[in-house]
């Protein structure tokens, strides 16, 4: 049980990276904050699509709403510039939600999402919006936005460091936008992020390209 807990902690540090990667690639990703976590395992059969299993948790004081989904991510548009890359992604999925508030119980549900990013080797911006619906039972959304900069341009096999600011709102969980300064690192195929929100909530994210 302890090993399972450690594993779940390690993978429950979801990251904010591309949801569709190279053809044949696998990614394990996780994001964790006290009020929120998102973990997924996904596979990209092409550089335009990925499919995966996705778990979300939203906490409202002692009550949780958890969703488990099969999810499809689609790279709708990409601009590969000489010194930048920009992307727009669509997300969709279906599964079950277990609610401890609103209409408690287990219900069928679906989610829809839209995500966009623009990055250079020194600058990063991204925004994403997800909606979760269980007709007559649940309607909630989360919106996140990020801006960041890297103090140096790292080589291919070097450690890359980013300083970022995240704004996030989770409908029904937070009344205000939660601002989280963070630091992001990536090295080879591993990305990890650590931060602390302005209200003192910790954040720990991890992504691995397998």
């Amino acid at each position: 049980m302890k090993i399972l807990s450690i594993f779940l902690f390690i993978v429950s540090a979801g990251a904010y990276a591309h949801p569709v990667i190279y053809q044949g690639g696998w990614a394990l990703s996780s994001s964790n904050m006290p009020d929120y976590s998102n973990n997924y395992l996904m596979y990209s059969p092409s550089n335009r699509y990925s499919v995966g299993i996705d778990h979300w948790r939203f906490s409202q004081e002692a009550a949780n709403t958890e969703a488990a989904l099969l999810k499809i991510n689609h790279l709708l548009w990409r601009d590969n510039g000489e010194n930048h890359q920009a992307n727009i992604y669509l997300h969709g999925g279906g599964g079950v939600v277990d609610q401890e508030w609103g209409s408690p119980g287990t219900h069928g549900m679906y989610m829809l999402g839209l995500e966009a990013d623009w990055e250079t080797r020194r600058l990063y911006t991204a925004i994403k919006h997800y909606e979760f619906h269980a007709p007559g039972k649940l309607d909630m959304f989360t919106t996140q936005a990020r801006v960041g900069f890297s103090p140096y341009e790292a080589d291919f096999k070097s450690l890359q460091t980013w300083f970022m600011l995240q704004g996030m709102i989770i409908d029904e969980v937070q009344e205000k936008v939660m601002i989280t300064p963070m630091v992001r690192f990536f090295y080879n195929n591993v990305l990890w992020e650590m931060g602390s929100s302005t209200r003192g909530d910790w954040m720990l994210n991890l992504m691995v390209h397998l």
């Binding site: 190279y22 550089n47 590969n80 250079t120 080879n188």
Partner: protein, 91 residues
């Protein structure tokens, strides 16, 4: 003399050289994402090694002796990794 020349020609005919192919790639701004390029090319038997230069946005592909990669293959692999080929140059 003729024997020497024949021997030299024979030696050259058995000598082969690894090829270097320089590929200029668009959109290559993230080192973690560019790992996909390495994964795609590492799976190809003709490829001996590969260097990714993020500053110059160039992927240097070194093939095994006497092996080559067609432009179409290079373009396909770079595209599957999520990028665009700007140019291909052989040395």
């Amino acid at each position: 003399m003729k024997k020497m020349m024949a021997l030299t020609l024979m030696l050259f005919s058995f000598t082969s050289f690894a090829k270097e192919i320089n590929v200029k790639v668009s959109g290559m701004v993230c080192s973690m994402c560019a790992q996909g390029i390495q994964k795609k090319f590492s799976a190809i038997s003709e490829v001996k090694s590969l260097d990714v230069n993020l500053d110059k946005k160039i992927v240097n592909i070194f093939t095994h002796d006497d092996k080559d990669l067609e432009d179409a293959t290079i373009t396909k692999l770079i595209t599957e990794a999520g990028y665009n080929v700007a140019s291909i140059e052989r040395k």
